[in-house]
């Protein structure tokens, strides 16, 4: 064992490797992405790793490996679990042979997600055991325990970190490769009575699951990570209790000292809920504050425990308005709630109102080809009744002014179908659906098939920057690279579209503005479903050839470039109104050169 300073996601990857994981699959999504990347970077010979096409595929690949007796890990973010929920719900009934861990990263806030859903709730719905770590070190240890538990019970086990555990760093005591377990998979043993789901199997399996989880709940009361502690020592007789979990447990610890007389329950296994331990915790208490993030899972379980056991303890938390019902907890939000609960006074140092600060919403990078694509469509469709359906990726940022080119965004791949639905109601609208290359493969293709089959009238715009940019540049089927380091044949977006039946499929460089605008005009006027593929590499990966510069003599300070493009490299001078280009950011994409009315900008060279 040795100490390494690492992120929670790296710790969980090493935990899986320590447990002898054989197969790892996932789909990128903040805050989960680094788990699989770390496995890929540090895996020994014989460990298979892939970025799957989406979370459903990833979960099924991992399930297949676990059917064959391998230890398998699948990684995703919380909304990815929605995509993977179909196989997961059934897999809960079928079970696994090799240990299988489903790592789902939740995102309280949300900081980088569409929803604030709680995978602890999902685990109870799916009837699968779930572990909820409080720190990178604990997350590391829990991965090994989760594999053991999964193999013993014969069902997948969920490990659910949240953003602050995923992306928090600390020095973690980890095993070196020579200490990692080696797990030999037995192979798939044919047994249709076990692996083929039918109602008769499900009837039996459901009853067995209920028996198993009831027994497991009792056993988990003795699990060392479900703890009851007292701030004033083991002999104190506190009347007040705090129930918490995950990262919130650390905020509770930051806000409690020896002067407080409180009993603290920390729940590491929200499902099955360790009710016997909870009853011990409740014994002798008058009131409990549940400090949770996302859903009031522990709070509801404690209310139920009191009801079942006839205990008269008041349970407070989100449901009583004592803890914020949504959003991320913080050290101070928990501190305020504890102050109120314990009747403490904490001196508040008022901060005088600051001056108005600039706002910094995330923006498309300087030189991003998505800016050019959106601008070309905007320019081509000026004056027409249009609908611009967006999707999930960097290009969601096309919503920002001045582009303002995203009318809808729902979930991965949705834009293509939303566009169809709107035009059924408003046939006179010229509808566009923007989708990135990775999202196209993840869940866009079925939408195009649906549109083509059902005779929709819309333009698909594939923003192909040949990477999964938003989550940190993961390879996908269109990149010709795999996570195993192989160079493979690329899946061609053009050929996929033509195979579906589309006859109008144009590929254009969006940074060639005139060509891009005329392609949009031409394609949008065709009947039926048609596609434009805007192809230009992500500027974060590509090396700029040269940068653009403004000739101050010729710049008349009209700021058309700033107003139309909103590129962060274009910096207007407050005094003169003239524009300067920040060479540190400029990639020489030439888009501003192409729209400058006085031709004052030059020197760029597009990639």
């Amino acid at each position: 064992m040795h100490r390494e300073f690492m992120m929670g996601n790296e710790a969980m990857a090493l935990g899986a490797l320590t447990a002898g994981v054989n197969v790892v699959a996932g789909y990128p999504g903040t805050p989960s992405t680094e788990v699989l990347e770390t496995v890929a970077r540090r895996r020994p010979e014989g460990v298979y790793v892939e970025w799957s096409v989406n979370e459903k595929a990833a979960l099924e690949v991992a399930a297949g490996a676990a059917y064959a007796g391998a230890r398998a890990l699948v990684t995703m973010k919380q909304v990815g679990l929605n995509v993977a929920s179909d196989p997961l719900m059934s897999l809960s009934y079928i079970g696994v042979k090799g240990g299988m861990v489903v790592l789902v990263a939740d995102d309280p806030g949300p900081i980088s997600s569409q929803t604030e859903q709680d995978t602890r709730t999902f685990a109870a719905y799916a009837k699968l055991p779930i572990l909820d770590p409080s720190s990178p070190s604990e997350a590391y240890a829990m991965m090994c325990e989760a594999f053991e538990l999964s193999e013993e019970l014969g069902c997948p086990v969920i490990v659910r970190p949240t953003t602050r555990v995923d992306h928090g760093y600390e020095d973690v005591l980890v095993a070196g490769p020579e200490e990692w377990a080696h797990h030999e998979a037995e192979g798939f043993v044919r047994d249709p009575s076990r692996w083929v789901i039918f109602p008769a199997l499900s009837v039996r399996a459901h009853a067995a699951i209920e028996r198993r989880d009831a027994a497991l709940a009792g056993r988990l009361s003795g699990y060392a990570r479900n703890t009851v502690t007292q701030t004033a020592g083991p002999d104190a007789r506190p009347r007040l209790g705090v129930a918490t979990h995950g990262i919130s447990a650390t905020y509770v610890a930051e806000n409690l000292g020896e002067k407080d007389d409180v009993r603290v329950l920390r729940v590491a296994t929200p499902y099955p809920f360790p009710e016997d331990l909870a009853a011990d915790f409740l014994d002798g208490l008058d009131e409990v504050l549940c400090v949770e993030e996302l859903d009031p899972v522990i709070e509801r379980a404690l209310v139920a425990t009191c009801g079942r056991r006839g205990l008269t303890v008041k349970i407070c938390g989100k449901l009583t308005g004592d803890i914020q019902p949504s959003g991320e907890n913080t050290v101070e939000s928990v501190g305020r709630a504890l102050d109120a609960f314990l009747g403490r006074q904490t001196a508040v140092v008022p901060t005088p109102a600051p001056p108005t600060l600039p706002v910094r919403p995330p923006v498309l990078c300087a030189g991003c080809p998505h800016r050019a694509s959106f601008y070309a469509v905007k320019r081509a469709m000026r004056g027409r009744k249009t609908l611009f359906c967006g999707d999930i990726g960097c290009y969601t940022l096309g919503n920002a002014k001045p582009l303002d080119m995203v009318d809808t965004c729902l979930c991965m791949g949705a834009g293509i179908n939303i566009a169809q639905g709107v035009t059924h109601v408003e046939p006179d609208t010229t509808a566009f659906a923007f989708v990135g290359d990775s999202t196209f493969f993840a869940s866009g293709i079925t939408g195009v098939v649906n549109a083509f089959y059902n005779q929709a009238n819309m333009t698909l715009v594939v923003l192909d920057n040949s990477t999964t940019a938003m989550t940190g540049h993961q390879p996908h089927p269109g990149t010709g690279r795999t996570m195993m380091g192989q160079v493979v044949e690329k899946v061609s977006i053009e050929r996929v579209l033509r195979a579906i039946g589309l006859t109008v499929v144009e590929t254009v460089d969006p940074l060639d503005l005139d060509a891009a605008v005329s392609a949009v005009r031409r394609v949008a006027d065709e009947p039926g479903v048609k596609a434009i593929i805007f192809r230009s590499p992500c500027v974060v990966l590509a090396k700029p050839q040269s940068t653009s510069a403004v000739d101050a003599e010729r710049c008349v300070g009209c700021q058309r470039c700033v107003r139309e493009l909103g590129c962060p490299a274009l910096v207007p001078d407050d005094a003169t109104g003239k524009v300067r280009i920040d060479a540190a950011q400029c990639t020489g994409c030439t888009l501003c050169e192409q729209i400058c009315p006085t031709h004052a900008i030059s020197g760029g060279e597009r990639l």
């Binding site: 300073f5 020095d171 905020y251 930051e254 806000n255 913080t330 600051p354 600039p358 910094r360």
Partner: protein
């Protein structure tokens, strides 16, 4: 709750300024001293030109990776508006080390709030207090070093000299730079740590440090 021995530092800036790298460097420097370290930072959507921060907690006594409001010993800001944005986290008597060069967002030119540098700087002077504020002349540092790339290291060096990093010294940071920075940037980052000495304009009593 009251007697924590750890040093709490917040690094603040704009996506791309190297806040995450700086926090790694600071963590490494502290670990070379044998101190436990916890950090939390912004990763993901906010990196695209958004405000970014790293919370770095050095020494025993830290449980949570996040620092509570009013509990940071120091704020090291690569950009003055971001220093102000993080100011509610500073404890009474805490230190602020900031660059004086603003990064003006696109939003300021497209209808969002303007960037009022003088209001921001005078707010810092007024509310941090002269003896706890160190302003780094980032333009001079850039001119000396020939690049703005090492601004994060310049600020860390200035913070160490201002005594803002608790037990972590300039030598610890230099050791961390040698251990982690690629050979291509090693000389630049070491120069940024040391040569920045002349470019730091400490407000009054900080000059003595």
């Amino acid at each position: 709750m009251s007697e924590r021995r750890c040093t709490n530092v917040i690094l603040a800036g704009v996506g791309g300024q190297g806040a995450v790298l700086a926090s790694k460097l600071l963590a490494r420097a502290a670990m070379e001293r044998g101190l436990p370290v916890k950090t939390a930072e912004t990763i993901g959507m906010a990196q695209r030109g958004g405000s970014v921060f790293s919370h770095v907690r050095l020494g025993e006594g830290a449980v949570s990776p996040l620092i509570g409001r009013g509990r940071a010993d120091a704020i090291v800001a690569f950009e003055p508006a971001e220093a102000v944005r993080q100011l509610p986290f500073l404890r009474a008597g805490g230190v602020v080390v900031t660059s004086d060069v603003p990064v003006v967002p696109v939003s300021a030119a497209t209808g969002g709030p303007a960037y009022d540098l003088s209001a921001i700087m005078s707010y810092l002077h007024e509310h941090v207090g002269e003896k706890n504020l160190a302003v780094v002349d980032a333009a001079a540092a850039e001119a000396e070093l020939g690049t703005a790339r090492a601004l994060n290291v310049v600020l860390l060096g200035a913070a160490a000299r201002a005594g803002a990093l608790g037990p972590v010294t300039l030598d610890d940071l230099a050791a961390a730079v040698r251990a982690t920075v690629s050979p291509r940037f090693l000389d630049l980052d070491l120069a940024a740590l040391h040569r920045a000495k002349g470019t730091v304009t400490f407000a009054r009593s900080c000059v003595q440090k």
